[in-house]
Structure formats: C-alpha cells, structure tokens
Symmetry: C2
Subunit: 438 residues, 2 copies
Amino acid sequence: MTDLTTLALLELHGSLADPALESMNFLNEVANRYPEALSLAAGRPHEEFFEISDIQRYLERYERHLTQTQQLTPEQARRAFFQYGRTKGIIHQLVADNLAVDEGISVDPESIVVTVGCQEAMFLILRALRRDERDAVLAVAPTYVGLTGAAKLVDMPVLTVAGGPGGIDLEDLAATVARARAQGLRPRACYLLADHSNPSGLSLDLPTRHALLELAEREGLLLLEDNPYGVFASDPQDRPPTLKALDRRRQVVYLGSYAKTGLPGARVGFVVADQLVAAADGTQSLLADELAKLKSMLTVNTAPIAQAVIAGKLLEHEGSLVRANAREIALYRENLARLLAGLVQAFPAGSGVKWNTPSGGFFLVVSVPFEVDDALLETSARDYGLLWTPMHHFTDAPEARRQLRLAVSLLTPDQVDEGLRRLARLINDQLINDRLAD
Amino acid sequence: MTDLTTLALLELHGSLADPALESMNFLNEVANRYPEALSLAAGRPHEEFFEISDIQRYLERYERHLTQTQQLTPEQARRAFFQYGRTKGIIHQLVADNLAVDEGISVDPESIVVTVGCQEAMFLILRALRRDERDAVLAVAPTYVGLTGAAKLVDMPVLTVAGGPGGIDLEDLAATVARARAQGLRPRACYLLADHSNPSGLSLDLPTRHALLELAEREGLLLLEDNPYGVFASDPQDRPPTLKALDRRRQVVYLGSYAKTGLPGARVGFVVADQLVAAADGTQSLLADELAKLKSMLTVNTAPIAQAVIAGKLLEHEGSLVRANAREIALYRENLARLLAGLVQAFPAGSGVKWNTPSGGFFLVVSVPFEVDDALLETSARDYGLLWTPMHHFTDAPEARRQLRLAVSLLTPDQVDEGLRRLARLINDQLINDRLAD
C-alpha cells in the first residue's frame, strides 16, 4: 500500500474554510437528504412548463436567425454552433434587444459580456475591481451568498450596508463608505438587487433609486445591480425602472441572468459594463472589454450551444422574457398571493409572527419569536416534511437569527397551501414549546 | 452632456496590464483582420465532419440513457436538462468510463469535477493551491498561455522549467524547485502536457514519465497533467501511458478537455482530483470536493445542456473518443505527414531552417535563422495570406525569438500543402533579405 497524496486544508486557499462556502453545501445537503420534503427553500424556476423538446426548437430558431436574418452561410452557421466563439459572446445583440424590450435599458451591444450564469459576471467584476488589499465591495444586507462567495475567491472584503424596510439604508451606506475610507480601504462598488431582492423580497421605490444614483455619483462608487427577478413583478404596470434604466453617467454595472427567465440548465447570464477605462497612455477601452480579457483566462467563452438555446427562446418571443414567462409570472403571482393570504389566516395579530409583503419575485421573509437555526431546519425537513432557508446564512444581523426565507417558485399553488399548513404546524409547535419552557 | 464614469486601468487588477492577456487579444485580432488567410495558427479542431443536427442526436441519446439505462422518470430526466444541477457535474460516470476506455485511467467518478472547458479546471486548481504570497506553480516552457493567464488571475507566480528536446528537463525542474525554496517560495505543482504539447508538439518518453513521477513524489509536488491532444497520436499503438495512468500515489491532477475531441462549442472539460485533503480536525475530503466548493462561487455548475451534448457523443461511441474521432485522427495524421514531408522538400539541409517531428497532435515548431516577431506575422498575413503563431508568445527563452508554431488541425490536406508553399515563400524571402542586408 503506497501513501496517498494528502494536502492540508490549511495550506489551500482561505475561501475553502469560509462559512459562506459551507452554507451552500449545508443547505443543499439537507435538501438532498429529504427529497420528499416540500421545498419553500429553493429559488429555482418552476419546471412544469418546460419540455426537453423545447431545446431543439430553440436551437433551430437560432439557426434560422443566423442563416436568414444574419445572412450567414451554412458553413458560418455551423461554425457558430461548433467552434470556439467570441469571448464576449455571440448573442450580445439579442441581449441588448431584450434589455430594450423588457427593461427600457438602451445599451451598446459591445458593452455586454455573455457569461456562464450571473455568477461568473459577479466574479469578473470583483476580480477587475480588486487590485490590492485596499479594495472592498459594499453589499446591502441580507446579501445573496453568491456575491459573498465570489468576493472570497478574490480575497475582497464585503462591507455590509443595512437594508432596512426600504431595501437600502442610504445613511448607512454613506456612513459605511466614510468608515471604510477612514480605515484606509477603497470602497469600489455597492452590490444590490433593486427588484424583489434575494433573500429579502424587497424592492426599492423610485425616490430611493434616484437618491442612490446621486449618492453613488457623489461618492465615486459603481453600483452593481443584479436583476434576476425584475420581470416577475406581480403587477407589471406598477414596476419602477431599473437603476440601469435611470443611469445617466454609466454608474451602474448591470448583472443579468437567464437562469430564472430562460433556462437554468443553459447557465447563461451577462454583464453590461459600459464604463470607460483609461490607460496611462491615454487610450480608452470599455470595461466590458477588460472583463472579457479576464474571461478569456477563466472560461474562454460561454458555450455557444447554451447561448443558442437562450437566443432561440428570445427570438421565439420577439425579445421579451415577460412574454416568454407569461405562465410563470401568473403562477408566481398566484403562489405569492396564496402564501400571503394563508399567513394572515394562520398567524393572527398578536401571535408574534410577522412577514414582509413583496410586490413580486420568488421570496419573502417571516420573522418569529424564537431562534431559527440549522437544527430547526433539520427538524422541519425530518418531522414536518418542509424545507425553507434560515436567514442567518445571508447576514450576521441579530434579527436574522429569528427569521426564515420562503421561496414560492418551484411549487404548484396547492403545494404552496400544503407547505404553509406544515409551516404553521412547525411554528405553532415551537411557540407552544417556548411557552412550556417558560 | 454628463461626465461618463471612467476607471483608471492602473486601479484595476494587475492581470489586465499583463502581456499574457494581451497576447491572446493580439493573435485573435490579426486573425480577424485577415479572414481570408490560411490558418496554420489556430489550434482548433477540424470542422468539416460536424453537422448542427448532431447536437439534437446527442441530446436524444443522453435522454434515452437517463430514462432507459439510469431508469429516471420523465420528470427527473426533464429536470436533469432544465434545472440547476450538481456542482461537480452530471456526466461524471461517463467521463470516468471514457478515461478507462481511451486512457487506461481508473478513477472514482466522485473525484471528477466537470468544468467549463479545461480553462476553468486550471483556474480552480491554481485558486486552491494559491493560499498566500509564497505559493508558486511551475510550468514547462514553452507554456500554454491559458495556464499563464489563469495564474495571473490568482496572482500566482509561474516558474518556468526548461523543456528541451525531451519535453522536460528534470535537472532543471529539481534546480528550479530548490531555487524557489531558497527564495522562500512554496512550489506547489508542476504543469505540463505530456502528449503532443501545446505549443512544442513534444511528448515525454516512458522513462521520463517514470522519472518525473518519482521526482514529484520526492519533492512533494503535484503534477498538473493537461491532456487535450493525447488521443491524436499518429500511431495509436505507439503511445506511452499518461502520467495519470502511471500514478500510484495520486500525485497527478489530470486536466481533461472535450474541446478538441468532443465539440468546442459545448465548452466542457473536467479535472480528476483524487487527492485527499485533511482538515485541522482530522476529517478528510477529496480535493475534487474542495474544487467544487470554489466552482460553486465561480460558475455554479457547467451547463447541463452542454454536458448532455458531450454525454451523447460519448454514448454513441461506447465511451471512446478515439473511435468518435477516427476521421479526425486520420486527417490530422495526414496533415502532419504532408507538412513534415513538405518541409524536407522546401528546406534542404544547410538552409538554416529546422523543425521538430511530433508523433501526433496539432502542433510543430519551426526554427529559422532570423527574428520571428509580431511584425513578421503581420507581413505574413497581409502579403502571403498565411497565419501562424510566433513562439515568443509562449516563453521568454531567447531561441523562441526565432521560432514559430504551426498547427495542422483546421485545414484540409490540400490547404496544408498550399499553406506550406506560402510559408516557404515567406521564409525564403526573409533569408534573401537577410543576405542582402549583410
């Protein structure tokens, strides 16, 4: 028996011992151990409207687009699917069209980098902004774990900004920037979801968006706007413009995802980075081109076949993911409405149980008068057949120790009702236990 | 007119000003400016045997595998294509089967991480090994630029080891390790292609492979074996085992790519990391699971649709990419033979022009008695209609300033002949110019 090569974890990169990376593993592991439990945990799109045959239809649609609209020869079309492609992606014009149609965002397609999901986009922008040990990123709390994890990979500190009931506390943002600078740090950017945030479910109102843009300009901060849930507004007429749509000075780097609106299994996202970069010799480039240089050393390019699938879906719906997701939007609205109505019935005023009221998206947050830890999640999965997410995984704020996140995207309306019944039993049992313990 | 946000390149990550990242850009840019030039530059697989309809056939083949062989329900199969999947990938068993069939490598599928091309695999292993400013990686010169670029992204120094005529100079490897340690560095691993290397075309003979494994064990070095070209041996019977097939102590991290053998447009690669990792509390994990934690924060997972395409191609050929690439292997062998025969004819002994004689793969290196710089490439593309790659992009070694790399994969045999005629004209014109200048 030979000795097997063994590495010490302490001699591998520090991110591997970080709680942010352990969180994801723990949550997935619980879900895998209780496959029969109803999941109000997973922020995954609804599956029932998808058929495997859709993929072929999307591929054929994109092939027709290449040969008929783009006038490519059959050899050129074949090369587009088969061969290594442009680092910034091959569907940038379709992404730009989609942003114009659904979001009223007008950008040069050259400022778009198509990425392997939005996660790669987050990594690229943080890698670019983290030059040395002074560079830090701000993030509104509670924070999506993917941002925290990407920052760990580049050893970049994440400074949290209070979210509060409005989604962002601008006074705290200014104070955090000032404090960081006093400590010798350079806060480069602030990361947030302005619409139906993960995990809070909150959206910024229009005056807050304007004030945030002004503050960012004043402080010389980029805003990293992550917008996977914007199209899932319960009332599409009552949706404020994105920060990027309001952006006049290119202060906003827009992070887009087709995982919720297109097809998670394609892993296609993108970043709009229309900022200018000035070299010492006076030449200028687009930030998108700098991010593409990093991407060329990270994943080379995003699988053209995966881009083609998303392109086909976009083309099939004239560039509108709102139209493509009409059934999903209706379902998520129905699920959210049922959940909110059910919570009112299950927990009358005085029960000590509270929740917020998102205007759309996948998530809402429930606050309870007892500790919500990983052991309670385990109990819930095992004894109540229900999964959800403890909020302490998203923030160190003390109130999060008594909060849980619910997601309404994966289940049918009837399953949401059943999930809520199980949640009510769990919470009421906990309340009784607590009273008995007093 | 508002002021547009402008970032200083000097305040972005240092890799963005690095020549390694500029190299790729420059070479692509020349190729794009002369689309009509014959390319003996691109290390891309031959396109003529591919049809867009192959994709659908591969997807259907994998779907049948899921429902018939794996006994998944239609809902589960749909989920496998559609939804977020396992971070380590969903085709790990098929990858393990492929390694057993084509390479005689026997590994636990759990030690495999499916990645977004081999480039992501290189990034993951370097990110894991770069804990602090002491950690360095060794690489055999001339070095594939993707390795250099990935190292830049994690600020990891690359210490070059002489390649020499045998593909690796083991004395120089030992000396480089000793020198690095004396400087306070920790050399963690040595990166190399043992078969038909890019860019040198060289392969290690069997005694050198054994000696390298022994040296790595003695020095406590991992070997990062990158093997995209192994199946393209001109004589498949005369192929030494890979380092991983000879590895008894799990000293070798094996980096695999389906870009050349499968389909570049799927962007699927993988890493075999069966090393153990020991935590301070005594628990052990597989290095593959640690790399998967990093991947969860980089790209989340490799597009299941892209994995399904590769899986279908593997299944169609009973796990053998040697069988799947029978036509390609024959073509590359023919192209390489024509190129070698043509070089003999064009440059008789005494001409001062020399070249090496690879036993397969995509590349060979030509040495000439004049400077081979980027200006000469520009001249070649513009005036001779021919693209190739100046070797100075792969190494700082002085001899590389008089060398160029030729790739034989993209062209037909007749195009190779024509490319060689153009190359002979270019070289002979240079030789005459040099004589006139004397």
